[in-house]
Amino acid sequence: MTELTIYEKSVSGRVGVVMPATDVPLSELPEDLLRSALDLPEVSELQAVRHFVNLSTKNHAIDKGFYPLGSCTMKYNPKINEDVARLPGFAHLHPLTDDSASQGALGLMHTLQEWLAEIAGFTGSSLVPAAGAQGELAGILMIRAYHQSRNDTKRTKILVPNSAHGTNPATVSMAGLQVVELPSDENGDVNLEAVRAACDDTVAGMMVTMPSTLGVFDTHIVEVINAVHACGGLMYMDGANMNALLGIVKPGELGFDVMHYNLHKTFSTPHGGGGPGCGAVGVNNKLVPFLPGPIVVIQEKPARKGEPPLYALEMPPQSIGRLKAFHGNFGMHVRAYAYIRTYGGTGLREVSRHAVLNANYVRSRLRDTYHMPYDRICAHEFVMEGHFEGVDSVHALDISKRLMDYGIHPPTNYFPLIVPEALLIEPTETEDKDTLDNFIEVMLTIAKEAKENPTLLTEAPHVTPVARLDEVRAAKQLVLCCRPLPQWALDQAGD
């Protein structure tokens, strides 16, 4: 059942990869700086390969089965993207190569900057942020810098709907601003009256996820944007749900001032078991000077038509600064470029059209069995409640765990926080009707099981590599390593 750790497979003296002999004379090593011991595994190459292949089989993944994890956009990650990101001209390119010697990388990044801006209706973008959360931080820092640059120093509040991802309020705090939480109305939209009441000259801006985390297009988003703009605030769009908007609506045209894109959601770069991602940001003219840098600019227009221009890296004049070393997760830029190039403008609209079609199809077929708190046409995802009248023992978590027995990854649980027993379901456009039909049948079966034999759910999962875990024990005993720290380190650890 349990795979031994790589340390438990280690045998002293065993060697995996052999490094070559040195071809230069040896130099003296500084004795007083040498370490006394190093506890790393000693395994053969085959042992290592087998170990990690065996571990991989204990994961669920898109390549293996359906993954309707709401707000995460678990769409197919095309294989060609992996190949092109590994081309030697990209993989072995040093980040501090002179601009003149990295024109291919810069040209690709510049084009991607322009495409992302076009897709969302903005005038500028930066590819630097490493993840959505870092894109949010960039956005709020830009909003703050914008107000400061106008000596408008009273603005310390950011409005955040109560349906927001946790990263939104956490970002606001990190940027040193205060969160004002706003309620949602009975349709799942932001409560417009509450927005209007909160708007005054202390508001720096508002963060909105569109479509909302409840999976609905906010029907009065334009009024919300106008209200915030009228009081002098700026609008931030959390682009986590951009997979519903490609060629459907441009956030910049609606009036948003800044948003982040999740290249690892909308533009198919793989999630990698929790990163790496890319949280590029797009902005309108107001915020272009504040973009995190460096960004790629055209330094010299081409001398002749058909020739490429000369690209260069540049820090925007009033940039909020660097968010990471070098210029962002370039490997993700390559993959996203390949993805957008594959679909083209009309193709991208098909992506969103089918993402929304798939979600509505599943929603329509489950709405008689599961309670839908917002029973309306949805965007690319929808939320339903994971409990049944008269079966108190069964919760959303139990439905999720039971889904595993059918080889399906659970939807997002208990988010958004404002829906009790929430199950947030996002099929994505790359799933075929047969897969959706199977999921629907399984969900209907589980609903039946909940009433007839609830312990099937509450004891689930039954066929996964491990059963439900004792999470309290993990936090209490806090075993975070295969091995305790060796005594030599404890002895020598200074004080």
């Binding site: 990698g272 909020i320 329509s364």
Partner: protein
């Protein structure tokens, strides 16, 4: 080209089930005047065309596959065993999400647990988190821990001049509104002058070994001064150097951060990389980022799960100390596979190769009359040389010979005009080093510089 599987018949069946006629009907909530804008993008292309286009971008770059690379400065060209990439390309790893559902994610969770162990062992610390975006953001997140430790009563952060300039810039970006006094990196202070900057308002002191200039130091004395003042010591380090040299844990560091890219991750023009973050047990509950712990399932089987979750943004929201959500999961996996394949002996051997080749190069350059190598402190695989002519001129000559030379330090450090930062790893052959040295000599001779 498209990855959408629907047929016309299926689309009609699905629309009928929904109770609408066309897909457009699903978008009525979007204000009509903004609905369905044109996207001014190129037309879609076949896989073959996309591959060719990307190939032409890639070929327009001068990279370490075609050039001898003597450039490091935070990103290092090391040999990556073939097996690393084969494991990364397992769809079960790279097309999985964050392991929120542990029963279906034991592969990712155990790999992170092993990663945490290896990072703890290398750094000499009690534990590590599942990683940050890169070395620079690891340092910025460490500053948060420093501030939290004094409940924000202390506002001074002392950074050394030897920390990578990008890392110091990121600390300033993250904390630009926190009202901090960030000092110490204005000049290359002596150890004593640097230690004298520490006072009772100091939350955290951060230093590097090897530092941006390649220099190594023992910070045991500094650790005593930092702790006496009630502050925390962060040491920024290079994991390749740790295979050979004293760990920051042995020196008394409270937090150790750095860039994990040297551990089996390609240069990839600056990312994705992986920021490691290790700490003493006493701070473990205060740090940000994902942490994986060991536990049992309900049948008593050993298993792994993300733990100390209540620290995180999705639960704590505006009271979370950081907004970090993802780690760099796949890159942490790359480091874990790399360290497993290299093992204790392979890592030591690779570090020794770096050390000996760099020192051979430094000795050869120092023999040239018109160049001086800074040997005031021990160094690992990077070192600074003072050149007789502008660095740009030397790099242009090297480029002609198929060599990418070192960093021109004058750009970031005005005091270091005509100084070059060179890096030598196991990837540089003796022939390459000898060619580098002979061209350095030619350039100075051509310029008519004599000692």
């Amino acid at each position: 080209m498209s990855y959408i599987p629907h047929t016309d018949v299926e689309r009609q069946q699905m629309l009928a089930a929904i109770g609408v006629t066309t897909i457009e009907d699903l978008f009525e909530a979007v204000p009509s005047r903004y609905r369905f804008p044109k996207l001014d993008l190129p037309d879609g292309a076949s896989e073959m065309e996309v591959a060719a286009e990307l190939q032409s971008f890639a070929e327009a770059n001068d990279h370490a596959g075609d050039f001898a690379l003597f450039r490091g400065a935070g990103a290092y060209h090391h040999y990556i065993p073939s097996a690393v990439n084969h494991i990364l390309l397992r769809g079960e790893f790279y097309t999985a999400y964050t392991p929120y559902q542990p029963e279906m994610s034991q592969g990712t969770l155990q790999a992170i647990f092993e990663y945490q162990t290896m990072i703890a062992q290398l750094t000499g610390m009690d534990g590590a988190n599942a990683s940050h975006y890169d070395g620079a953001t690891s340092l910025a997140e460490a500053v948060i821990v420093g501030l939290e430790a004094s409940r924000h009563a202390r506002k001074k952060i002392v950074l050394s001049y030897g920390i990578h300039p990008h890392y110091r810039a990121v600390v300033r970006t993250y904390h630009q509104w926190a009202g901090l006094d960030i000092v110490g990196d204005d000049a290359d202070h002596s150890a004593e002058d640097f230690a004298n900057l520490i006072d009772e308002d100091t939350a955290m002191v951060a230093v590097a070994t090897p530092d941006y200039f390649g220099r190594m130091a023992d910070f045991r004395e500094l650790a005593k001064r930092v702790h006496a003042a009630g502050a925390l010591l962060v040491i920024v380090t290079n994991p390749m150097a740790l295979a050979l040299f004293k760990s920051p844990g042995e020196m008394g560091a409270d937090i150790v951060v750095g860039e994990g890219q040297p551990l089996g991750i390609p240069l990839s023009y600056g990312g994705p990389y992986v920021g490691f973050f290790a700490t003493k047990m006493g701070l473990m509950r205060r740090i940000s980022g994902r942490i994986v712990g060991e536990t049992l399932d309900k049948n008593g089987v050993k298993a792994y799960v993300m733990t100390l979750r209540p620290r995180e943004q999705d639960i704590r929201r505006e009271r979370a100390t950081s907004n970090i959500c993802t780690n760099q999961g796949l890159m942490a996996l790359a480091a874990t596979v790399y360290l497993s394949l290299m093992g204790k002996n392979g890592m030591k051997r690779a570090a020794e190769l770096c050390y000996h080749k760099a020192h051979y190069a430094a000795a050869q350059i120092d023999h040239l009359n018109s160049y001086t190598v800074d040997q005031s402190q021990p160094f690992f695989h990077e070192f600074v040389i003072q050149c007789p002519v502008p660095v740009a001129q030397i790099n242009a000559a090297l480029y002609e010979a198929g060599i990418i030379g070192g960093i021109d330090l004058g750009a970031d450090y005005p005091a270091l005009k005509n100084h070059m930062l060179l890096c030598v790893t196991e990837m540089n052959s003796k022939d390459e080093i000898d060619t580098l040295v002979s061209i350095l000599n030619e350039v100075s001779e051509k310029a008519g510089v004599t000692a």
